[in-house]
Amino acid sequence: MTLRTAIACVLLALLTSGVSAATPALQLDAAGARRAAALAEQLRCLVCQNQSIAESNAELAVDLRREINEQIRAGRSDTDIRDFMVARYGDFVLYRPPVKSHTLLLWFGPALLAIAALLAFMRALRNRRRRVSERPLTDAEHAEAARLLGGPASTPQ
């Protein structure tokens, strides 16, 4: 029993020491870890392009996660870290592209389209109202309608 306990203790010690040795530089406090995770989710992995740095297992993504962790430990702000990435990989690295002259259409195109569609819809409604006039039927039209409907001929009020 004591031997077994001793072996268990040694194994446990080996296990935990292995864990701490594997990630010496990457330890952040809880707030730092949250910031690192949030940043990694906003940044695109350029190797796999449709995954964020947080999701990707590409080597570059691993390196960039390490870079983010190190910079947070060094006390740099989220903006600093984003600027660091943009300076190296361009705006493409950001999942949320910045508002610039050449991204105006990207940002405001959908709103413009929605406004255009709304205007077209209102115009169509107005045209329709013009076609469907409010003029009352004449006596002859009433008689024709009654004949078509097969009922007894009624007179307009």
């Binding site: 350029l46 190797v47 392009q49 080597e59 570059l60 390196d63 960039l64 870079e67 943009v86 300076a87 190296r88 990989y89 361009g90 493409f92 045209n127 013009r130 076609r131 469907v132 006039s133 003029r135 004449t138 002859a140 039209e141 024709e144 309608a145 078509l148």
Partner: protein, 200 residues
């Protein structure tokens, strides 16, 4: 309601409200067709674009400084300032990189003809493997530097090995090739640029 009136055969009442819609019927077909043609045009152009060619933010900027040990002579280091006054290629390669083998004969040929000095960045590689690779395929590099943990690669925005930077006499990056240098890219884009930079 329209139908009822139409059936009544009231020609005068029918003609006047219908009149403004008549000239629009051409637009009714032309507009969706126009939108379709424009959309199809954009999509067709998009088919030919390569999403891996991300515009580099480095063009026109000074090459990031670094100090790394050399591959063949680990006791010596290299930094880009040493190339001041020369137009040179900075080529990112690795022994594990399959696409590097595609462009390698071209680089070897350039080195043989002394067209332009080429410095290699041996990216996230093992020294033995890298030296073995150069022994097998030929060494076109004036020298290679070792970037084991990929930090200089990050500073240069490397994401798809091989990548090649054209750096001018003042140390400014003028062009970046992502992926292997093809014969066409060398002939049509890089060589003319290099010639022009070498003259200035």
């Amino acid at each position: 309601m329209n139908e009822v009136r139409g059936a009544a055969g009231d020609v005068s009442a029918d003609a006047s409200p219908a009149a403004p819609t008549e000239p629009k019927s051409a637009l009714r077909f032309a507009l969706p067709l126009g939108i379709f043609v424009v959309l199809a045009g954009f999509l067709f152009v998009g088919l030919g674009l390569n999403p891996r060619e991300v515009p580099s933010p480095f063009i026109g900027k000074p090459a990031p400084a670094f100090q790394l040990t050399q591959l063949a002579r680990p006791e010596q280091s290299f930094s880009p300032q040493q190339m001041q006054g020369e137009v040179w290629l900075f080529n990112v390669w690795a022994s594990w990189c399959v696409a590097c083998r595609i462009e390698h004969p071209l680089l070897v040929d350039l080195a043989k003809k002394n067209v332009i000095p080429i410095v290699g960045l041996n990216y996230k590689d093992k020294r033995d493997a890298a030296l073995g690779w150069l022994g097998q395929f030929g060494d076109p590099y004036q020298l290679s530097v070792v970037d084991t943990d990929g930090r200089v690669g990050i500073d240069y925005g490397v994401y798809g090995v091989p990548e090649t930077f054209v750096i001018d006499k003042t140390g400014v990056i003028r062009f970046k090739q992502i992926g292997p240098i093809t014969e066409a890219a060398w002939r049509d884009k890089i060589l003319p640029l290099v010639r022009q930079l070498q003259k200035s």
